[in-house]
């Protein structure tokens, strides 16, 4: 398909702008030495050209609305349309973020401040934590914020020796990267090969006075719930280390487990995973951070407070705050959608969402475990990890299975993660999928397993039903073509 710049026709326009009024001079009042030499070569297209181009691009994509998308760890559930409708309301979308910072400006944005205040309270009740900030702009940004809170806590106490964060070896890559981003060193804690849980004895041997915190995900990336989480917390606290809970998998345990009840100090919630805000080709996300009482005073500013007259206001008077983590109040239009989702489902709906997510995952796991290896054969939560080790002996690897699924009309699961499982295939069906969809997927997976035995080479060629075959990634890295220059 043509690059948009190659569709450009000189003189064509996609917008008409208002004329300047009489008395408003068009002449530039900026000296030539401050101006660019040549215009920016943006494409010249009609509105129809633009719509055709992006419609054609969209036809080369696959979303949750297109079909089953069991991308493990990413929670590709259905995104209710009401959320989009609400986020498009002018009273939210058109609101300037500086308004509540003006004198008496709070009055201008009471509805928006109420959304923030109420959603924070809802997330606190859901997580069992004491306080919440909606500022972090994505899950990984939440991690950075949460790690900053841990750093601030230790700085405030003069715990200068606390420089290390312990992280299970199955964790998301963002965990160690976030800890390092805040100046900590990290050490991986092994996973018990039998239970699939954090090896608590190994942890006991590693934790010491240098340990600033432990970062864990529960259920973990193998989809296994760690029933010893409260003991991990106790162990950490006995060394004045804090425990960070990566809420990436909170969608598995709504109404069944609250991190706050286990003594967790700080956590983030990926709203796009747990509360159905759209993933948007990779963002924008929203990663609120919730804390226990011990960290409340370090939360970023501003905080939204409810005054005695029941109106809402911004509070910047937090002397121990870590400061600004985002320009304003976070990804407002994203978390607004999560708020709508929580209100729609209500208490029982949220509990059922987790129940069905876990049921769908267990059903798939049970139906597939005879055809693929299941390294941790136990009840799973919202996702599970198969291994293509058996198929790999025939020369069919996890990536080949992923590509074969594309040919059969599915978005593939996550492959090669978590790193501790060889030939990993990480499957997360989510609660919104029906039994019929899961059964079709099961059939496809079984058929692929059979073909892996009978005709393995055919799977190495997959996908064949797509507009392109597998891209040459080495050429992409070597060619360094990131910016379209037609004369090249």
């Amino acid at each position: 398909m043509k690059i948009i710049f190659d569709k450009s026709v000189q003189g064509r326009r996609g917008v008409t702008l208002p004329q300047l009024e009489p008395g408003v001079e068009a002449q530039l009042k900026i000296d030539g030495r401050y101006l660019r030499a040549q215009p920016a070569e943006l494409p010249e297209l009609s509105e129809l050209d633009v719509m055709r181009h992006f419609t054609a691009l969209s036809n080369r994509n696959f979303g949750v609305d297109s079909g089953f998308y069991p991308l493990g760890s990413c929670t590709m559930k259905y995104n209710p349309k009401i959320c989009e409708k609400v986020a498009a309301l002018d009273g939210f979308a058109g609101l300037h973020p500086f308004l509540p910072q003006l004198p008496q400006g709070g009055e201008l944005t009471q509805g928006a401040l109420e959304v923030i205040y109420e959603l924070e309270a809802l997330l606190c009740e859901i997580s069992g934590m004491a306080a919440c900030t909606l500022q972090p702009l994505a899950g990984a940004h939440g991690e950075l914020c949460g790690m900053s809170l841990i750093a601030a806590y230790h700085r405030d106490r003069g715990n200068t020796e606390k420089k290390e964060i312990l992280i299970p070896d199955e964790a998301h890559g963002t965990n160690p990267a976030s800890a390092v981003g805040v100046g900590f060193a990290t050490k991986p804690v092994p996973t018990d090969p039998v239970t699939g849980r954090l090896d608590i004895e190994a942890l006991r041997g590693m934790i010491n006075d240098r340990t600033a915190g432990i970062m864990l995900t529960n259920p973990n990336t193998l989809g296994i719930f760690n029933s010893e989480i409260d003991q991990v917390v106790e162990l950490a606290h006995s060394h004045d280390a804090l425990v960070y809970y990566d809420g990436a998998n909170l969608n598995a345990v709504l109404g069944a487990f609250r991190p706050g009840d286990a003594g967790i100090d700080v956590m983030h919630i990926n709203l796009h995973k747990t509360f159905a805000t759209p993933h948007g080709c990779g963002g924008p996300g929203s990663g609120p951070v919730c804390v226990r009482e011990n960290l409340v005073e370090y939360l970023p500013v501003s905080r939204v407070v409810k005054k005695q007259d029941n109106t809402f206001a911004l509070d910047y008077e937090q002397p121990k705050s870590i400061g600004y983590t985002a320009p304003f109040y976070g990804s407002f239009l994203v978390y607004l959608k999560a708020y709508v989702y929580i209100l729609s489902l209500g208490r029982q709906g949220l509990i059922e969402a987790s129940q069905h997510a876990v049921l769908n995952a267990n059903y798939l796991m049970n139906m597939l475990k005879s055809d693929y290896d299941l390294p941790y054969d136990r009840r799973c939560m919202h996702e599970f990890v198969l291994s293509a080790s058996r198929q790999a002996k025939q020369g069919v690897h996890a990536m080949d299975i992923a590509k074969a699924l594309i040919d059969r009309g599915f978005h593939p699961p996550t492959v090669y993660f978590p790193l501790i499982v060889k030939e990993a295939i990480m499957i997360e069906p989510t609660e919104t999928e029906s039994k019929e969809t899961l059964d079709t997927f099961i059939q496809a997976m079984k058929e692929i397993a059979a073909v892996a035995n009978s005709d393995p080479q055919s799977l190495n060629a997959a996908p064949v039903n797509t507009r392109i075959s597998r891209p040459d990634e080495v050429q992409a890295a070597r060619g360094m073509d990131f910016n379209y220059c037609p004369q090249d």
Partner: protein
């Protein structure tokens, strides 16, 4: 309202297939002592009820004021086609393009977005986006620290104070980093003050054009001075102004960043926004964030993939150059659609309208007794006024009349209590500017 597809019968059949009888059986790994101590949440609502409630809440926000506030976040017109194109669910319900064969739409769009940003800024390579302009500054500074191995960051006084606050928050965790801030004042970058602190330990100088006070500058001389000493330069730019102004590329800047909100993204009460970051080819391996490259498939057909991923957290973990994974893809897509609609001439014309109306406003406000324009240097579409009384008080009075005359600067700089930062975009008509002038006259 529930979005579960399975019926009770289906769920029962699936439980049976797992050898279980109730939903509770699925959660047996969670011991009794870890069961929730409470879960007090409201009962479910229908779509109709939720919509009515949220519409009421939206109605308690004053989104319809005649607003002259900018400060880095601008009200621009958004053509309807931006929403129509980006609201296709093949875009907004997809995730990061890990499977390129069914994600060519996202990948080509990002590649084209990267190219648009390069053309706008005159830089060689752009990433796929960052969260916002402020966090882009933090990421760009990290990039400069890593590249130079030095530890001092100099931030010019014209850099948006909100971005400075974000940078300070993160740098508080890195005691070795020395953050030097040049005192703020309306007008161009204060060369003498910058040169006085620039030294061989300096990793990077951060500049903004037009700066926070609206002043336009050419930083070429500063870039030259920095490069002589092995210092990198970050320049923050306003993308609409880039249609007219000398680009960071033309000035020799190393890392150009900015807030992309103006490119078709609504003000949204603070987010989601769009951070852009563009640099030179020789710094690309130090650049944070996703990057799309053009390549070929097995049949030699042109296609696009995520590339140079060895920089990133999912590969390098604790050795990654940034923890960022999710970016702002849908916001970048909006910006791309917007730039495609505006086009080469449209964006220039738009920038011209903003500038012309701002100049008209500047000239009109100068006639008000006691009001001065704080800078003599050229401005683009924003300028700083010195009022004969506290700007807070003036704003307070005019808001009641449905006009927000600008951003009072005392909130950021205690010595600028009488200063008001006024922004004019194509949304503000001559009539509205005149109405503001008359209202200012009546309260001053």
């Amino acid at each position: 309202m529930s979005y579960i597809s399975n019926t009770a019968d289906q769920s029962q059949a699936m439980l049976a297939a797992c050898g279980l009888s109730t939903m509770e059986d699925l959660f047996q790994d969670i011991p009794k002592r870890l069961k929730p101590r409470s879960f007090n949440l409201p009962e479910a609502m229908s779509e109709l009820e939720v919509h009515s409630r949220l519409k009421r809440m939206a109605g308690r926000n004053a989104a319809d004021l005649t607003c002259f506030i900018g400060g880095g976040y601008y009200e621009h017109f958004i053509p309807a086609a931006v929403d129509a194109a980006t609201m296709r669910s093949e875009f907004y319900t997809a995730y990061t393009p890990y499977q390129p064969e069914i994600s060519q739409g996202t990948l080509q769009a990002i590649y084209e977005y990267q190219s648009q940003i390069c053309r706008l800024t005159g830089m060689e390579v752009s990433n796929a986006s960052l969260y916002d302009g402020g966090t882009a500054l933090y990421e760009a500074c990290q990039m400069a620290l890593n590249t130079t191995g030095r530890e001092q960051i100099i931030v010019d006084g014209g850099v948006n104070p909100i971005y400075c606050k974000i940078l300070e928050s993160y740098m508080a965790n890195h005691a070795e980093v020395k953050l030097t801030k040049i005192p703020a004042a309306p007008g161009q970058a204060q060369r003498d003050r910058i040169k006085a602190v620039l030294c061989d330990e300096t990793a990077v100088l951060v500049l903004q054009n037009p700066n926070f006070f609206g002043t336009v500058d050419d930083h070429s001389d500063l870039v030259e001075e920095c490069h002589k000493r092995g210092v990198l330069v970050i320049q923050l730019v306003y993308p609409i102004a880039m249609a007219l102004l000398k680009t960071p590329g033309e000035m020799g800047v190393d890392i150009a960043i900015g807030e992309g909100q103006s490119l078709g993204i609504p003000l949204s009460f603070g987010g989601p926004y769009l951070g852009f970051l563009a640099t030179t080819k020789n710094l690309v391996r130090k650049m944070p964030g996703r990057l799309v490259g053009r390549t070929v498939d097995r049949n030699d057909k042109e296609c696009f993939v995520l590339t140079l991923q060895a920089r990133e957290q999912h590969i390098r973990r604790d050795k990654a150059i940034s923890n960022i994974c999710t970016n702002q893809a849908l916001c970048a897509l909006r910006a791309h659609v917007y730039m495609s609609l505006m086009g080469r001439e449209g964006l220039r014309e738009l920038a011209g309208i903003c500038h012309a109306r701002a100049e008209f406003a500047k000239a009109r406000f100068k006639q008000i007794p006691g009001v001065q324009v704080a800078e003599s240097a050229p401005t683009f579409n924003e300028f700083t006024l010195r009022l004969p009384k506290k700007a807070d008080a003036v704003v307070g009075e005019l808001v009641g009349r449905g006009i927000v005359p600008g951003l009072p600067l005392g909130r950021f700089y205690s010595e600028m209590e009488n200063c008001l930062l006024v922004a004019v975009t194509e949304m503000r008509t001559k009539a509205e500017i005149c109405k503001l002038a008359e209202n200012l006259e009546s309260v001053l």
